[in-house]
């Protein structure tokens, strides 16, 4: 595959961007004087800034590359990861859960678990979360470096070190504020960098109607009904009627409920951005403000994949064919960049691509250093030290976190589609988690033992289920069936992941209820005030104009999402 050639103007754009990224860290370093400044931005971030950071921190490797790949592989059904798999959960966390997260003054999600339940539940969550952030950050780094090597011919090691160094410097200097500000910058850069690509691609295929006509051919050639690539709901009746290989129930329950709520409502990576907001109403608006761009992202990240696959039939193809004979879907977006953008905009597009990887990396690193310092170091290793000490530890944890990510980056990924792999990890660890939070926040009888053992049982259920099933065409190994017997074969990896999540959640939900009923509630009602729905005073919003009220905003966002679903049903 020939490398994309960059001109002087492209390097100039890249350098301008890096200069601003580092400059923001440099300017902000003066304002970091306490650990709360470093880990929580002093709780002083306006809602719209935190909201854009909220969505940008999630915009890592899995988003731009993975969603482009899924757009090519599955068509517009991929938008379920947004309209079904993100928006409802984002509205829910803003309206119903943020009062407890922000109101309890917990400094992290694991710390909320400590306040609500007990030490062991916090420890389990903090530990698994810390491992997961390092893993995700490493994946971002690995994906970025191997992509740059493939399309530009840059040295893999140089890319890893350079991206690690830049993220390290700006977080080290300015802490969470620096990460948040850069995420806002990255958000606009990603929009501005990819939009011309989508516009040019659409123009090339003859607009939306031209794209639909070409994708109809793609669908019939793949053995599906003509509209399979351009309808999100129509072919969900049975798993064999759509390229994703899922049916509506596992999609709605697995993705729309368990995985989506498990991620958006409990993952400290995103919740941390909302916790940094300047006030309770602002914190509640953060996820809902974030939902607006999230709702429109399919146009930016899925559409390029759909355009690539439409052109694949016409021109013989932009996508190189991989070793297994199928197109390398992960190259959908990078190939589009090289195909349509001349020197100049090409630099902007590549900068946007790098920005998306770095924002994903930085989000994980800031979440890691907070959880490490507050929930692991301060709780188990050295409690009661001065604030200065924990601030220094935060700096050290940033360095160590980045070094560990680099180590993870060198671990290879086995899946064709990065998204599938992340889903698998989320399914084991995150899927049961939402049951714990739901019961913890809305049922005061939930006990610490119930939460802890429920989580363990849920995670174990996920691992056992995955070990006894396989997706169609796969051999036993990392993709499942590792417990010896294969009891069921799913039509696709995605379907298997969704069912793993559903089973993990149900196991955790039931186990938590049963064990809670069998054990004594050690927390008094006073201790649970502000942490549980029934024991927290209702928020009065008379002084907030209606359009700034989370519930009103949430309803509007949900209505708009419903309209999008109907248009592309």
């Amino acid at each position: 595959m020939p490398h994309i050639h960059l001109g002087a103007i492209d390097y100039a754009i890249l350098i301008v961007y890096f200069a601003f990224v580092l400059g923001i860290g440099w300017v902000l370093r003066r304002f970091v004087t306490s650990s709360e400044d470093f880990f929580l931005s002093g709780r002083a971030i306006p809602a719209w800034v935190a909201g854009l950071a909220f969505v940008s921190a999630n915009l890592g490797a899995q988003e731009v590359i993975g969603m482009g790949a899924s757009g090519a592989k599955y068509g517009i059904m991929t938008s379920h990861f947004y309209w079904l798999g993100a928006i409802p959960a984002m509205v829910f966390v803003g309206v119903f859960m943020m009062p407890f997260y922000y109101g309890s003054k917990a400094r992290s999600v694991p710390e909320y678990l400590k306040l609500r339940f007990d030490e062991k539940t916090r420890g389990f969550n903090a530990l698994t979360f810390a491992v997961m952030t390092i893993f995700s950050s490493g994946i971002s780094m690995y994906a970025l470096a191997s992509l740059l090597e493939l399309i530009l011919g840059w040295n893999f090691n140089t890319s890893v070190v350079l991206s690690a160094l830049i993220v390290l410097v700006y977080i080290f200097l300015g802490g969470l504020t620096s990460a948040i500000y850069n995420e806002v910058l990255q958000f606009f850069l990603i929009v501005m960098g990819f939009l011309p690509l989508v516009l040019l691609g659409l123009r090339d295929v003859g607009g939306w109607h031209g794209l639909v006509a070409k994708l109809n051919d793609v669908s019939t050639n793949a053995g599906f009904a003509a509209g399979a690539w351009t309808h999100s709901w129509k072919y969900l009746g049975s798993a064999s009627a759509n390229p994703m290989g899922v049916e509506w129930f596992s999609l709605a329950m697995g993705l729309g409920f368990v995985l989506s709520f498990g991620y958006w409502c409990t993952d400290f990576l995103v919740i941390q951005r909302a916790m940094a907001a300047e006030s309770m109403p602002a914190a509640r608006r953060v996820p809902i403000i974030a939902a607006v761009p999230k709702m429109l992202f399919p146009a930016l990240v899925i559409l390029p994949g759909m355009i690539v696959i439409a052109l694949q039939t016409k021109t013989g193809g932009l996508l190189p064919i991989g070793r297994d004979g199928t197109p390398d879907y992960n190259l959908a977006v990078p190939m589009m960049l090289g195909h349509y953008l001349p020197s100049g905009l090409l630099g902007l597009g590549l900068t946007a691509l790098m920005a998306s990887f770095m924002s994903g990396m930085a989000g994980n690193v800031t979440a890691f250093n907070t959880v490490w310092t507050y929930d692991l170091y301060q709780s188990y290793i050295r409690p009661g030290a001065s604030d200065r000490h924990y601030l220094r530890m935060g700096h050290a944890a940033t360095v160590v976190g980045i070094l560990l990510s680099m180590a993870a980056a060198y671990a290879t990924t086995r899946f064709n589609n990065i998204m599938d792999m992340l889903q698998l990890v989320f399914a084991f660890v995150n899927a049961p988690l939402f049951a714990t939070f739901l019961l913890g926040m809305f049922w005061r009888r939930t006990t610490g033992h119930g939460a802890f053992w429920g989580l363990l049982i849920g995670t174990a259920a996920a691992a056992i289920h995955d070990g006894l099933v396989l997706p169609m065409g796969a051999v036993a190994g990392i993709k499942g069936g590792y417990l010896g017997a294969v009891l069921h074969v799913y039509p696709s990896e995605m379907a298997q992941n969704f069912w793993t999540a559903i089973i993990a959640w149900s196991a955790c939900f039931l186990a938590t209820i049963l064990i809670s009923l069998a054990t004594r509630q050690r927390k008094s009602d006073e201790e649970l005030g502000g942490l549980v729905y029934a024991l927290t005073p209702r928020i009065v919003e008379h002084d907030v104009v209606w359009y700034k009220r989370p519930a009103a905003l949430g309803v509007m966002v949900l209505a708009l999402t419903a309209v999008l679903n109907i248009i592309f049903w």
């Binding site: 103007i9 100039a12 754009i13 301008v16 961007y17 601003f20 400059g23 923001i24 300017v27 902000l28 003066r30 304002f31 931005s41 002093g42 002083a44 971030i45 306006p46 800034v49 504020t177 500000y181 806002v184 910058l185 606009f188 501005m192 011309p196 040019l200 123009r203 090339d204 195909h339 349509y340 953008l341 001349p342 020197s343 100049g344 905009l345 902007l348």
Partner: protein, 69 residues
């Protein structure tokens, strides 16, 4: 917060917009074959420039408001 994020954002996009549209004016038209014959650097550069200037204006206005309460 002590630094308005719109300030660096406005500066960066103004600079990127100026760079791109400037390059669009001087670059040979042959490089635009791949972008369907459109001088995308010029046009998109102007979009970035406009966005950057709006952000800068908002940041400066907010700063003036804070100085004269």
């Amino acid at each position: 917060m002590n630094l308005d994020v719109r300030l660096p954002m406005g500066l960066m996009f103004t600079l990127l917009g100026a760079l791109l549209s400037g390059y669009g004016l001087v670059s040979p038209s042959s490089i635009y074959e791949r972008s369907l014959g459109i001088d995308v650097n010029l046009w998109w550069g102007l979009v970035l420039l406009a966005f950057g200037l709006v952000m800068l204006t908002l940041a400066l206005r907010a700063r003036r408001k804070r100085k004269t309460p």
